[in-house]
C-alpha cells in the first residue's frame, strides 16, 4: 500500500492507503478527523467539502493518493482553540443548522465562497454558490443569513488564518 503524505490543518501527516481510498476515507478513517461527513453516493450533497490547496472540493470524489503533498483544510482546522472561526460563529448565531450533518460542508463551502467572491455577498450569490450543498433540515434561509453575516465578520481576519 502506498504511503501518503499531506499537510492537514497545518500539520504534516502520513498514512498507508490503497489507491482506491477516497480522500474523505483517509481523513475520517486514517486521520480520525470525523468532522468531514459523507451524505451521498452521487457527489451531490457537499457534506464532504474540504479545501485542497486553497480550493473547496468534494473529498468523496477525489482519491487520497491524488492529494500526495497537498495542503488540506478540514472543518477541524478553522477554529483557534475554543474560539470559533467567524463563519462557525455566524452559523451558531443565525441558527444556520438543525441536525448539523451538512454543516461542516456548508461552512467549508462558505469560507471558500468568501475567498473567491469577497465579503459582501448578495442573497442571490450565496444561493447560487450553495448549489453543491444539500441540507435536509433548515430550508436554507438561515444558512443564507449565516453565510452573509459570516462573510462580513471574516473581513477583520487575515485570510492567511485558514
Amino acid at each position: 500500500m502506498p504511503m501518503i503524505h499531506m499537510t492537514v490543518n497545518g500539520k504534516a501527516v502520513k498514512g498507508h492507503a490503497e489507491p482506491r481510498t477516497l480522500l474523505v476515507e483517509f481523513i475520517r478513517d486514517t486521520l480520525r478527523l470525523t468532522g468531514t461527513h459523507v451524505g451521498c453516493d452521487t457527489s451531490q450533497c457537499g457534506a464532504c467539502v474540504v479545501h485542497v490547496d486553497g480550493h473547496a472540493i468534494k473529498s468523496c470524489t477525489t482519491l487520497a493518493v491524488a492529494c500526495e503533498g497537498a495542503h488540506v483544510t478540514t472543518i477541524e482546522g478553522l477554529a483557534h482553540g475554543t474560539d470559533l472561526h467567524p463563519m462557525q460563529e455566524a452559523f451558531r448565531e443565525h441558527h444556520g443548522l438543525q441536525c448539523g450533518y451538512c454543516t461542516p460542508g456548508m461552512i467549508m463551502s462558505a469560507v471558500d465562497m468568501v475567498n473567491r467572491k469577497g465579503h459582501d455577498l448578495s442573497e442571490h450569490t450565496i444561493r447560487e454558490e450553495l448549489e453543491g450543498n444539500i441540507c435536509r433540515c433548515t430550508g436554507y434561509h438561515n444558512i443564507v443569513k449565516a453565510v452573509a453575516a459570516g462573510a462580513k465578520a471574516m473581513q477583520g481576519m487575515a485570510k492567511a488564518a485558514e
Binding site: P2, E18, P19, R20, L22, D41, T42, S43, Q44, G46, V49, H55, A56, I57, K58, T61, T62, L63, V65, A66, E68, S109, D112, M113, R116, E129, E131, G132, N133
Partner: protein, 264 residues
Amino acid sequence: MYEFDYHRPGTLDAAVKLAGEADAKILAGGHTLIPTLKQRLAAPKHLVDLHALRELQGVHLKDGHLVIGAMTTHAHVADSALVKAHLPGLAQLAAGIGDPHVRHRGTIGGSVANNDPAADYPSAVLALNATITTNKRSITADDFFKGMFETALAEGEIITHISFPTGIKSGYAKFPNPASRYALVGVFVAQHGADARVAVTGAGANGVFRASTLEAALKGNFSAAALDGKSVSADGINSDMHADAAYRAHLIGVMAKRAVAAAH
C-alpha cells in the same frame, strides 16, 4: 470501488505508454470517473492521472485561437480573462457546470472525452467548430462526437488541448435539470460569417447535435427574431422522467433564442 494501480506520469510520453496498457483508464478531474468507479460500473486495472502534466493546463491565445489545455478546470475557464474577452459565452458555460466544487476539479478534456449527452462543453465545441488535439492527431468537432458517450478517440488516446476559433459572435443558454444541473436542454449558437452553427445538448437521443432548421433560419440574419415561429422536430429527441421529447423540442427553440439574444 474495485482495486486498481494508480500512476501519475510526469511526461505525456509516459502517460501515453501507461494509457495504452490493457484495462488502463485516464483520470482527469475524476468527477465522472470516480462516481462510476464507486458504483462498480467500471473496473480498470490502472488509473493514469494526468495532473502532473503541466503542459495540459491553462489557456493561451495562439494564431487567433483560444487554446485550452485538456486538464484546465471548469473554474479556470470560467474565470479566465482571455476566455471572457474572446469567447464570453464559453466562460459563461463553464461557470454554469455543476457547482463550485465540481468546477474546481472537473476538466474540459474529461468532459469532452466523456461526451455525456447532457454535458455542456460538447455544444460549445460543436457550435464553434473547435479542434480537438490528441497525442496523435487533430480532430474537428464535426468528426469527433459519435453519439452518446462515444467519440472518435481510440483506446488510450489522450486529448492534450482544444482550440477554439475567436472573433466569433456566440452565446449559450441552458435550461438546467433542477436536481443535477446537467442540461435538460442547452443550446450554443455561433455566427460564422453569414452562416450560423447551432449545437444542442441534453436533448438528442444520440447526444450533442446540430439543429439544421435553426441554422438555416439564422443564415444571413443572426437575430433572435429570425427564430420566431421556427421549431425543432421531436423526432430523435430524448424522453425520460425529467422531460418528454415534445417539451424538450420546444425548449430547444426557446433556449436558441435566448442564446442568440445573449450572444456577443
